[in-house]
């Protein structure tokens, strides 16, 4: 099956490279090196890891020639973990959408999406669907802001990794120069999430049992995995630089904290990436 997947990926790469680029459409290839401080989402035994990710994406962006227009984003990405090989994964996403220019400053995009994910630890492989609505404002050539809502329903091979989530976020960015920009963002999310623990938690000790909690032992994490409802807060910052019209680099950092009945955990993640669009 690996061979078939490799062939499919290569075929798509050749296909993308051979397809002529026209105004309003964009291909994007990129790779990033990332770090996470709590890759196993542990309440009491956080493990850090380094992650290499590569992706190919297609984006039909807005021409602006009509007030209402359609969009399409599709992407294929793969991630390899330096230590936690069981988390290696391939993800494919397709997201058609519709955009409306509410005014020269305000625009709205609503986009349902379908995402398939295959993880080395097959219990975590999942198919997800949802919808994302983004309201954006370009106040002038330098300053822009955005707000979004995203609903996700992810169905994994094992229920403990399945989740639904409602997330809202805000962000703001400044184009300091035509080549250099920075962004800050905040996201609040409410929904299911799994956590891991080394503690000898039993069914009797799980709070609110009977309200949809599920748990199982995971060989991949070598720990008990428990699904519960959590609130998550994320704070992110990006800085990007365009070397040319096609080659760009970006640095990003996100701090995430989430809490539920079982406790709370946090995670620091950072990445540096290089991309090529045409």
């Amino acid at each position: 099956m690996r061979r078939y997947l490799t062939i499919a990926v290569l075929a798509m790469a050749v296909h993308l490279a051979a397809t002529p680029q026209v105004m309003g459409t964009e291909w994007d290839f990129g790779a990033k090196l990332g770090y996470e401080s709590n890759v196993n989402r542990s309440l009491d035994d956080a493990q850090s890891d380094t992650i290499f990710t590569a992706y190919a994406a297609y984006d039909r962006s807005l021409s602006g020639e009509s007030r209402v227009d359609w969009t399409l984003r599709a992407a294929l990405s793969g991630s390899a973990y330096a230590s936690e090989n069981d988390l290696n994964q391939v993800t494919g996403t397709i997201a058609p959408g519709i955009s409306v220019f509410l005014s020269p400053v305000w625009s709205l995009n609503v986009s349902p999406f379908l995402r398939g994910k295959a993880v080395s630890d097959s219990e975590q492989s999942a198919i997800a669907y949802g919808v994302r609505a983004t309201l954006s404002q370009r106040w002038n050539t330098k300053v822009y802001t955005g707000q979004y809502y995203c609903y996700t329903n992810s169905n994994a091979d094992e229920d403990v990794y399945s989740y639904y989530e409602n997330a809202v976020g805000i962000l703001a960015g400044i184009n300091w120069t035509p080549a250099f920009f920075t962004e800050i963002g905040y996201e609040y999310a409410h929904g299911d999430s799994f956590v891991t623990t080394k503690s000898p938690i039993t069914a009797a000790s799980i709070p609110g049992r009977g309200r949809g909690y599920s748990y199982r032992y995971s060989p991949a994490y070598n720990a008990l995995v428990i699904k519960e409802t959590v609130d998550r807060h994320s704070y992110g910052i990006n800085a990007g630089y365009d070397f040319t019209k096609t080659l760009f680099a970006v640095l990003g950092y996100t701090y995430t904290s989430e809490s539920g009945d079982l406790g709370s955990l946090d995670n620091h993640s950072a990445f540096i990436g290089l991309g090529y669009r045409f």
Binding site: L5, A8, M12, V22, M23, G24, D28, G34, Y55, A57, S63, G64, E65, R67, L72, R73, A74, A75, S77, V90, T91, G92, I94, S99, F101, P104, N109, F113, L114, R115, G116, K117, A118, V119, T134, R138, G146, C150, E165, A167, G169, G173, P178, F181, E187, G191, F194, P219, R232, G236, G240, F248, A249, V250, G252, T254, N267, S269, F271, G273
Partner: protein, 188 residues
């Protein structure tokens, strides 16, 4: 964290890959070219032969001053109006109609204006100016249609960072820009 993965389990995992990814790949494979084929959005205006909206040339940018008249709002293509500047009459190409209306562009009709933009000679022998900025002299009101590099202002939808690795980009998210937590991968 390492664990002995059996051959059967690995097969199940990659079977999941096939189920999840290959249909999406196939969809992208066939959908994207069709979308592109129907997506030639830089058109050649029939009378002038000017490429729109991509015909802006920063090397020919200049300013004209005169009285604006004859505003024409087509169903598709750029709104245009005439500016009599001394002995020359320019046809000014502005923006799509929705943008023109939102900018209250009709205010220019009959007014003295300064218009900056890219000058060009159409194949019909008339002078054209692809507008960057229109200043109505009586009210000092400025209508901006393009940036310094000639990029159309009506393309301002969406988040600029998402095409450059920022929030909303595949670089930041799960492949389609979703999620901000855990480096943009949300709950995994």
């Amino acid at each position: 964290m390492a664990h002995p993965q059996t051959g059967n389990r690995g097969a199940i995992a990659w079977g999941r890959v096939a189920q999840a990814i290959l249909p999406l790949l196939a969809l992208l494979f066939f959908l994207a070219p069709a979308a592109i084929a129907a997506d030639e959005r830089d058109v050649v205006l029939p009378e002038s032969g000017i490429h729109y909206p991509g015909g802006f040339d920063v090397n020919t940018v200049g300013v004209i001053r005169g009285k604006a008249s004859d505003v024409t709002i087509p169903e598709s293509g750029p709104v245009c109006f005439r500016v009599s500047a001394g002995r020359d009459v320019f046809t000014v190409l502005a923006s799509p109609s929705w943008y023109w209306k939102d900018m209250k562009g009709n205010m220019v009709d009959g007014m003295d204006v300064h218009v900056s933009g890219s000058k060009t000679l159409g194949k019909d022998g008339n002078l054209y100016l692809i507008a960057q900025e229109v200043r109505v002299l009586q009210s000092n009101k400025v209508l901006v249609f393009r940036g310094e590099d000639g990029s159309p202002s009506w393309r301002g939808g969406g988040l600029p960072g998402q095409g450059r690795g920022g929030f909303g980009s595949p670089m930041r998210g799960d492949g389609a820009g979703h999620g901000m937590g855990a480096g943009g991968r949300g709950r995994r």
